[in-house]
């Protein structure tokens, strides 16, 4: 994906995340639009593209969150890396795999975010509450993942070969 288009997608995802997403809260969790966008990019365009936009999107999220810059970017990188590993080894045309990958990546993203916040001395919820929120968010994101993937698949030829790992 080209830089301006990718930047606009990420910026749009971040803005939707911090303005609209919390309106559709279920069980204390709301969808992570940026994570979904990054996973969709990783699934369609490959892990390198996904990691680049995870870094950019994460830093934008950090600009809207309390605390220092970095924790959301780090968490998104972890989730993206997991998705990339998954995408490389499974059939990318199947819609079930990205949904499961979204759920698993949400768990990784959330755990890294909580761990980073704890390490930096930022406030974090109790473990019980954190797990409740993580599970709800993972289920939510997994359900929404196919919807996020559809427009990108239309635009991007998902049959394009994945760049070779070095």
């Amino acid at each position: 994906m080209k830089w301006p288009a990718g930047g606009l997608v990420m910026l749009g995802a971040v803005l939707v995340q911090v303005t609209w997403a919390s309106r559709i809260e279920v069980a204390g969790a709301f969808p992570n639009i940026v994570l979904l966008a990054v996973i969709a990019l990783t699934w369609t365009a490959g892990i390198r593209t996904g990691l680049v936009w995870a870094c950019a999107g994460g830093l934008m999220l950090d600009l809207t969150a309390p605390g220092p810059l970095g924790p959301h970017a780090l968490a998104l990188l972890a989730g993206t890396y997991l998705t990339g590993f998954w995408a490389r080894n499974l059939d990318r045309r199947n819609f079930l795999y990205p949904a499961v990958a979204a759920g698993v990546s949400t768990v990784a993203y959330s755990l890294v975010l909580v761990a980073a916040d704890r390490m930096l001395g930022l406030p974090v919820p109790s473990m019980a509450l954190a797990f409740q929120l993580i599970i709800a968010a993972a289920a939510y994101n997994a359900l929404l993942m196919p919807l996020a993937l559809l427009p990108l698949r239309r635009r991007h030829a998902f049959t394009r070969p994945e760049p070779q790992a070095q």
Binding site: T19, L63, A65, P71, L120, P123, V124
Partner: protein, 252 residues
């Protein structure tokens, strides 16, 4: 990323960090306007818009009136509290700055709001934020023209309160779904459903008399030194769009 986080966490970097965060604020404000417009357009179908508008207005009035009732029963300031549902300054005698909510926290772990006022408007970290329904939270970070507010729903939030009828004291703890309050036992007094929880001022963290919410259920255990209760927050964090920052009270 961790190095970046550690560097930007330093106090000497707070100015640059605040300025960087404020850069996104105008876009968020624009997006909020788009979101509001979208809400209006979608609700216009079948004249729902008008009904919802009326419903919201009545709900807001109802909320404000309930807040006033709680204030009256707690403080006995009959005429003062009835003078205006949203005239916070007159009701509480504090100087306030009105701010619009332009964004919300990006994840469910920290329940925060972003507002369109910052240090240039006199806001400082620690200042108390209230809404039409009562206490909202406190300012956690400030940029020149934007600030991040930690709401009561944030799991790390703690507020000392007293109950309007029984007078029992307790501590409200934030939570994703509802606020929990640990109520101290006292001979001859029992907490009951429907009581209002108001800030007690104990500890100096919040001014006394701000409405936090209404007790929805109480669970009593003889073996414990405290009762547990659930409090329905008087502000709805999902729909709150305007807040008042109390600028003449700083936590002790």
């Amino acid at each position: 990323m961790l190095v970046l986080a550690v560097v930007t966490q330093q106090s000497w970097a707070s100015g640059a960090r605040g300025a960087a965060k404020a850069a996104l604020a105008p876009l968020e404000q624009g997006m909020m306007l788009v979101a509001s417009g979208f809400d209006r357009v979608t609700s216009a179908v079948g004249d729902i818009s008008m009904l919802r508008s009326d419903n919201r207005r009545l709900e807001a009035e109802n909320q404000a009136l309930r807040r006033q009732v709680a204030e009256l029963s707690a403080a006995g300031q009959d005429n003062v509290a009835l003078r205006g549902a949203l005239d916070f300054q007159r009701s509480f005698g504090h100087r306030t700055v009105a701010a619009q909510v332009i964004g919300r926290g990006p994840d469910g772990f920290s329940r925060t709001l972003e507002i369109d006022r910052g240090s240039a408007d006199g806001l400082r970290v620690g200042m108390i934020v209230a809404g039409g329904g009562g206490l909202v939270g406190r300012v956690r970070e400030t940029g020149p023209h934007a600030a991040i507010v930690q709401t009561l729903a944030d799991p790390q939030s703690r507020v000392n309160v007293f109950l309007s009828k029984s007078g029992l004291q307790g501590t409200v703890v934030g939570g994703a779904d509802s606020l929990q309050v640990q109520i101290e036992h006292r001979l001859g007094a029992v907490a009951s459903n429907g009581e209002w929880a108001l800030t007690s001022g104990v500890g100096g963290g919040y001014p006394r008399g701000l409405v936090v919410g209404q007790v929805a259920s109480v669970s009593h255990r003889d073996s414990s030194t405290t009762d547990q209760a659930l409090v329905v927050w008087s502000n709805d964090p999902a729909s709150i769009s305007l807040v008042l920052v109390i600028t003449d009270f700083m936590p002790a």
